[in-house]
Symmetry: C2
Subunit: 365 residues, 2 copies
């Protein structure tokens, strides 16, 4: 148990946006929500999963839809209370704590805002250990746990409760409603008891985000390593490519931020050409036609000077980026995990090969 205040939020947002792997939204928007709540109501208690009673109800809080739309529409502030009431009424039980469902600039922050506003603790765990674009893509699905009852509320006051036969149907139906509500809504799903949480969640993700954020912030403080070497060391990242964004092709279909970005090599990568395909999150990275990394491993683009993560909705021509691969949560590499979030699910015609095997000897710079 420890407290999450303003400086912790700053680092968690920064680190979580790296784990967002291109998705998860702008940490600036996320921070606004979390910091606003903490300034008003005081710091939030962060609990280790082991501190949660087995029968206590833990409820994820997240936004669904396009984070950029959230930035335009804003969060009304009443959403969390409505979600709280919908879920606790449904279960006939008080909510013990909130948790994030994924790591990302926005969805790592909203549970902090909700916890501060409703005076509840938050759990140091999530359901992905990174960000993924669709809501069935959580460790809980692998364990056969239903996403529903799922509560959805928009900033206008419309609310919906779903009960579906599969988590893929939850995604399907909730996505439709999200689109009809203008592209972003607040949701609670995968409400779990403490025992389930301890068994199936990705533990320690908030703390990991915070440590990554702190390290990025202090990346230039080291004296014996270059900032890039230091960044790769603490992030346990594999260097994929360094270059200048030469083209961004988007095909926004309303529901997702789809596309690919072409990067022209600089420095030791001069003369080469990389391509990163994304659906909210980065899905695959290839250099001169050879795939170097795919989902579920994390493909992250960061600014070559500040090492601040660049999300897929902020990709711009001319920006210099370092592409880095991070190993995903182990369970995603299982057969069940790859069925849910492997490259073929996203239409990428390759088997999954662990990042470290694809990179081979060139892994450590």
């Amino acid at each position: 148990m420890r407290k999450i205040g303003l400086s912790e939020i700053e680092d968690i947002a920064l680190g979580a946006s790296l784990l967002g792997a291109g998705g998860g939204g702008d940490p600036y928007i996320g921070k606004l929500v979390a910091m606003g709540a903490v300034k008003e109501r005081g710091p939030v208690t962060l609990l280790d999963p082991e501190e949660i009673p087995d029968d206590a109800l833990v409820v994820p809080i997240a936004m669904m839809g396009a984070p950029t739309i959230l930035g335009e529409k804003g969060v009304g502030g009443k959403e969390y209370e409505v979600l709280y009431n919908m879920i606790s009424q449904y279960y006939g039980k008080k909510i013990f704590a909130f948790m994030p469902i994924e790591a990302g600039g926005v969805n790592s922050m909203l549970p902090i805002g909700a916890a501060a506003r409703l005076g509840l603790p938050m759990v140091d765990a999530d359901g992905m250990g990174r960000a993924f674009p669709e809501l069935q893509m959580v460790t809980f699905t692998m364990a056969g746990i239903s996403a529903t009852p799922m509560a959805l509320v928009d900033e206008k006051g419309n609310s919906v409760i779903f009960n579906t036969i599969t988590n893929q149907w939850t995604e399907e139906l909730a996505r439709s409603v999200t689109m009809s509500c203008g592209g972003s809504v607040s949701v609670s799903l995968y409400c779990v008891e403490g025992a389930i949480l301890k068994q199936h969640a990705v533990k320690g993700i908030v703390t990991r985000s915070q440590k990554l954020g702190e390290a990025i912030r202090r990346v230039k403080e080291s004296t014996d390593l270059t900032p890039e070497e230091r960044f790769l060391e603490f992030s346990e990242g594999y260097r994929l490519f360094k270059g200048k964004i030469a083209d961004v092709l988007r095909e926004t279909n309303g529901a997702f931020n789809l596309g690919r970005v072409v990067i022209e090599g600089i420095g030791s990568d001069r003369g080469k050409r990389a391509e990163v395909v994304f659906q909210n999150e980065n899905l695959s990275a290839s250099v001169d036609g050879v795939i170097l990394a795919t989902v579920p491993d994390l493909i992250c683009l960061v600014d070559t000077e500040t090492f601040i993560p660049v999300t897929t909705d902020a990709l711009k021509y001319g920006k210099r980026v370092l592409a880095v691969g991070l190993k995903c949560f182990d369970a995603w590499r299982s057969e069940a995990g790859l069925k849910l979030v492997g490259p073929r699910y996203f239409g990428i015609d390759t088997d999954y090969v662990p990042l470290e095997n694809r990179i081979g000897g060139n892994a450590d710079v």
Copy 2:
């Protein structure tokens, strides 16, 4: 109080498909559901609204989406029980009776099927007195009564409860989910207490449908009138046009059956050309460019020989039809009514003029 058995169902389905005004679906499909249930479980008790206690909960049962899809997908049979449980749990109260929400070949029948299967009575009232394409288009909306909580269930077992800030939002969100569920679902909405029902529903609609159906079935029994004269007399219909369908233009957008039908005059209308525009239901009828009738009045096409109504999804080149206008339920002609279902709402650029005024002296044949 009286009983609805197989022969009553036959007539109700036929008459309701006239009041469907081109929409409301194929009475054959509706009858299958209602008759199947009544054969298994016995006749259904039909209650007059005045027989309902003021605080008793009355729940409409309907399908949402394209009736033709319902015909393909079928009704699983469990849907009504699921709806019953969702609604009674929500209110913490038993359901006293079911009711139809609109008149039409399918939606007049499903509440009979539900009532038979669950052993509940049905009320002789609905919320439209005809069929309309969107779910906010009920008398209850004019009275400021919320469509929600609305329960929706598909044949696969997915279910959703909506709570919305307006009935237009209910339409918007439920339509999205309906589309995602494959285009047809079962719903309960506008759940009302007896007191509200007595004040705002369209009363006697089941009995009216049955009488219309019986009259259509016996249209050729009269000796002193031609069948057409007899049909216009008992339906209190205004003869608009008689002709042969020359063209059907459809622009199915998935959510609705949109389009227009062109009819070339025969008999006394030879040389003239009529056009009927529809969105599930017929919206306007014009002859040689002059509008003769618009929503909310009913525009019905019936077979020139059998006087069996022709729904918009059954329009076919070459079919001979009589176009007839029926006066709508009075409240639809109010300012509030016309805002909800007047021609301009549907993009038809004309003020509403009551059918009988447009037709003028030619009203009664």
